[in-house]
């Protein structure tokens, strides 16, 4: 390695008395991709922001230096280093990174002109257009003038790569950029980013909460824990010979898909009748065609899907975003009615229930959502939130309080927070509130729409254990709707794979993961990031990710 372009020397960052980054040092050279692994709360994001001289209000660099080509970012470098041109940053929220009221292309051009005032508008536009081509955005000439809301997550992240790279930065900070993306899309983004970095001899700091993602891109990886860099090794060495206990545990928590012979316990009984029967359900949305008068596109979100959910089983539904998973969730929870087909609960069609009966029946099937921040009202106390479903059904007050406390205990929440607001609670605790909120109603079926994907690995395993325990004590049945294949592999007895609104394959855990029949299932599995050897390589099956 030649002289390092970015050198971090004993960096300390604090919010008041609370040290978030505690004496971190490392160096990155040109064409090098330096990975930093850390769970949520380890200080990754703060580190990333400190490297771009972009600390939020109230958080300050209290010691050490960040040197860009020898210039201290905060002192001498402040005039010589332009953030956005010399150092670029890409974050984990591509879809809220740009002004929603201005088309994507012009915003990137605007940025380029700001950091490189010498360019003409035409030159800038040409450069952005070329890069949009390079990151493989389909028909960039049209996409250039589309608004951010018209971009999918993966496309937007590619646009943000263009935004970061258009000014030819020497250093790129990528903070968990593939976390919100589907596996297939993430794999594409990573390979695009890697190519571009090498071509441009750029130094990249790749911060990630997934060791699997780091394995795809990084050369050297530093492990961050509680604000400190506790070890640093080339990624393969790190994975095979970690030096610290912390890293060892982290690696052991990485879920395996193929290198384990264990399958989730089958709690089914011989005389079981299906709990929920889904028969040939379809749902089509009318979407107004742009530039036409009263014409509509018909989007077939779910097409003729059938399956049974058996008591006490874990049924998994996998597929990329856009494949119809969310619509299917809305149908299963009867938030929307299918255009055709039927859903039966305990033998009776849901369509036959009147409003009053339906309210009562809804106790039996409850939905748990992905985002515990938006799904919990911020100004309602925890206890009141959990009891809402009971109150709605006219339960006496004393009994309600009793049941709420019981549910809180069973999901592992301290009853002392009964009268607290949810503000101070962590993601995991919030998700437990959602679970308790469903449990007070004594449901039979819980439908989990990406319920675990907001959590980091450690918290995720704890909740999986909790789900298993609840299943045993309360005879619960779960439907896991997820794009996290490793989680599904660990938990689900039977799995259905969806592609473009259709259920292309349904099978038990073993047959789906080890003997997939449909080509799409193979393609999906082969894109899954994992530490295992893959039993097959289906990379060339020609399935395009849904956009």
């Amino acid at each position: 390695m030649s002289t390092p372009i970015l050198k971090v020397d004993n960096l300390t960052v604090a919010a008041g008395d609370n040290r978030i980054i505690d004496g971190v040092s490392f160096e990155v050279g040109n064409s090098e991709i330096y990975g930093i692994y850390g769970e949520s709360g380890a200080g990754k994001t703060t580190l990333g922001r400190a490297l771009a001289n972009w600390l939020p209000a109230g958080v300050e660099q209290t010691g050490g230096k960040v040197l860009f080509a020898g210039h201290d970012l905060r002192t001498t470098g402040a005039n010589r280093v332009t953030i956005g041109r010399d150092i670029a940053y890409i974050g984990a929220k591509p879809q809220s990174a740009l002004d929603p009221t201005v088309p994507v292309g012009p915003q990137i051009v605007e940025k380029l002109l700001m950091v490189q005032p010498g360019l003409t508008r035409t030159e800038a536009k040409q450069r952005v257009m070329d890069l949009l081509h390079e990151v493989r955005i389909a028909s960039p000439e049209e996409r250039f003038y589309d608004y951010p809301t018209k971009y999918s997550g993966g496309m937007m992240q590619r646009a943000m790569i263009v935004d970061a790279l258009c000014a030819d930065p020497a250093v790129l900070i990528a903070d968990d950029i593939i976390r919100p993306l589907d596996v297939t899309v993430a794999a594409q983004i990573v390979s695009i980013l890697k190519d571009l970095c090498l071509k441009r001899k750029m130094a990249v700091i790749f911060l990630a909460s997934s060791l699997l993602a780091l394995r795809l891109v990084a050369g050297k990886v530093g492990v961050m824990h509680e604000g400190r860099l506790i070890e640093e090794q080339p990624v393969e060495t790190l994975l095979t010979a970690p030096k610290t206990e912390y890293t060892k545990t982290a690696i052991s928590h990485v879920p395996r898909i193929w290198s384990s012979n264990e399958f989730p316990e089958d709690r089914g009984r011989a005389d079981d009748k299906p709990l929920m029967e889904v028969r040939e359900v379809s749902r089509t949305y009318k979407v107004r065609k742009r530039g036409t008068f009263g014409q509509f596109n018909h989007v077939k979100a779910v097409q003729g899907v059938s399956f049974d959910i058996m008591p006490r089983e874990n049924f998994g539904i996998v597929g990329e975003s856009g494949c119809g998973k969310s619509t299917l969730t809305r149908l299963l929870t009867w938030l929307e009615k299918p255009d055709s087909g039927d859903i039966r609960l305990g033998g009776t069609s849901l369509a036959n229930f009147s409003g009053r009966e339906l309210l009562d029946k809804r106790r039996e099937f409850q939905l748990l959502l992905q985002d515990p921040y938006n799904s919990l009202p911020p100004r309602v106390t925890v206890g009141r939130m959990i009891e809402e479903g009971l109150r709605l059904r006219g339960t006496p007050k004393a009994e309600m309080r009793e049941k709420v406390k019981e549910a809180m205990v069973s999901v592992g929440l301290p009853t002392s927070i009964y009268d607290d607001l949810p503000n101070a609670l962590s993601t995991g605790e919030r998700q437990r509130i959602s679970i308790a909120r469903a449990l007070v109603l004594d449901p039979k079926l819980l439908i989990l729409d990406e319920t675990l994907s907001a959590l980091d690995q450690g918290e995720q395993s704890k909740l999986i254990d909790l789900f298993a325990k609840l299943q045993e004590t309360k005879d619960l049945t779960y439907v896991f709707i997820s794009h996290d294949l490793a989680m599904v592999r660990k938990v689900c007895n039977r799995i259905g794979a969806m592609y473009f609104g259709k259920m292309v394959e349904i099978g038990d855990n073993k047959s789906i993961f080890f003997e997939p029949k449909h080509d799409y299932t193979k393609a999906l599995l082969s894109a899954a990031p994992t530490l295992d050897e893959k039993p097959f390589d289906a990379g060339e099956l020609g399935f395009e990710p849904i956009q």
């Binding site: 922001r49 771009a52 972009w54 939020p56 332009t82 953030i83 956005g84 041109r85 670029a88 940053y89 974050g91 929220k93 809220s96 990174a97 740009l98 002004d99 929603p100 009221t101 201005v102 605007e110 940025k111 700001m114 950091v115 608004y147 809301t149 935004d163 970061a164 000014a167 107004r288 742009r290 530039g291 036409t292 008068f293 009263g294």
Partner: protein, 326 residues
């Protein structure tokens, strides 16, 4: 196209709104106490003369018949004639008997057309004054929502909202016009006469503009794309004026559409106080004199203007933010 579809839909809706407004006004005028005929023929006229004139004017027909007749004329562009105002411009009073069925009474349409420009001028000037005051205060308050600019914005809006418009009008007339002879106050002989009433109206509407702007701008400044714009390399000035204000202006524009009703309510009082010969003044005089055709004409005009401005507001909001549903 979505625009054409939108326009057709909204114009049809607008016609329904105007029809409903006119019907309600039409009915209410005839149901509430106060007989225009009595005012026209004079307090001393015998009852049979009153009835005779009323029958001649068609005022004793069933209301639906009268309404049908009125709407029939309206679609041909005829709003009828004033009961009180002759073409000469003098106001007829009970003292001198003018036959309102004769054609020497002023056309309602002409009366309105004559005053609309004056009222529009007043409303526009008031809006400009209000924006001149509210934009800097609101923007400063929104950008520093924790600091003193926000407190100043709050103070000013509290002060303005608590000033009664008639009181302010009298104070302004007393000092600026009567005592110091700086600005003329009563009547209308040129643009200078617009200033005082416009100030009164501006004080009335600016608290709402300040409030909306501070809160929506403060909210936009919290969004992630504003934060990320810094690390993308955009200078702060550009972030604020190019992006934050753009996003914050959508609620503001919607507010202005609604503010129009406040403005019209304010115009009634303010024009009367300043003897400003606009639509508001005409309304007050006509209501006092039970001049049915004029009141109806004004109501229809105002509801049409209201519909038009709200269509415009929605279009502008859509052009700024494509996520707004048309």
């Amino acid at each position: 196209m979505i625009f054409v579809e939108f326009l057709i839909k909204r114009i049809l809706q607008g016609l329904v709104i105007v029809a409903i407004t006119s019907f309600v006004i039409f009915t209410l005028l005839r149901v509430i106490p106060g007989d225009p005929v009595r005012l026209i023929v004079g307090g001393m006229a015998p009852d049979n003369v009153v009835e005779e004139v009323a029958a001649k004017m068609g005022l004793r027909d069933p209301i639906l018949v009268q309404y049908g007749r009125y709407m029939g004329n309206l679609v041909t562009g005829d709003m009828g004639q004033s009961y009180l105002r002759p073409k000469s411009g003098m106001i007829a009073t009970g003292g001198e008997y003018v036959d309102p069925t004769k054609s020497d009474m002023a056309e309602v349409w002409d009366l309105i057309l004559e005053r609309v420009p004056l009222t529009l001028q007043l409303a526009a000037t008031a809006l400009v004054f209000a924006l001149l005051v509210s934009l800097p205060i609101g923007i400063a308050g929104g950008l520093r929502s924790e600091g003193w600019p926000a407190r100043i914005a709050f103070g000013i809006q509290s002060l303005f909202v608590s000033i009664p418009n008639f009181w302010l009008a009298i104070i302004l007339i007393l000092f600026l016009s009567v005592k110091w002879h700086l600005i003329p106050a009563l009547g209308y002989k040129g643009f200078a006469y617009v200033i005082l009433p416009a100030i009164v109206l501006a004080v009335e509407i600016s608290p709402f503009i300040i409030r909306t702007l501070t809160t929506s701008l403060a909210e936009v400044m919290q969004s992630y794309f504003i934060d990320e714009a810094k690390v993308r390399g955009l200078p702060r000035r550009r972030i604020v004026f190019g992006h934050a204000l753009r996003n914050a202006s959508v609620p503001l524009i919607n507010l202005l559409g609604i503010q129009l009703s406040t403005l019209i309510g304010g115009v009634l009082v303010v024009e009367y106080i300043f003897d400003y010969p606009g639509l508001g003044h005409l309304t007050v005089v006509s209501v006092v004199g039970r001049d049915f055709p004029v009141i109806q004409g004004i109501a229809i005009t105002i509801s049409a203007v209201f519909v038009f401005i709200n269509i415009l507001v929605d279009l502008v909001a859509y052009m700024i933010d494509p996520r707004v549903e048309l």
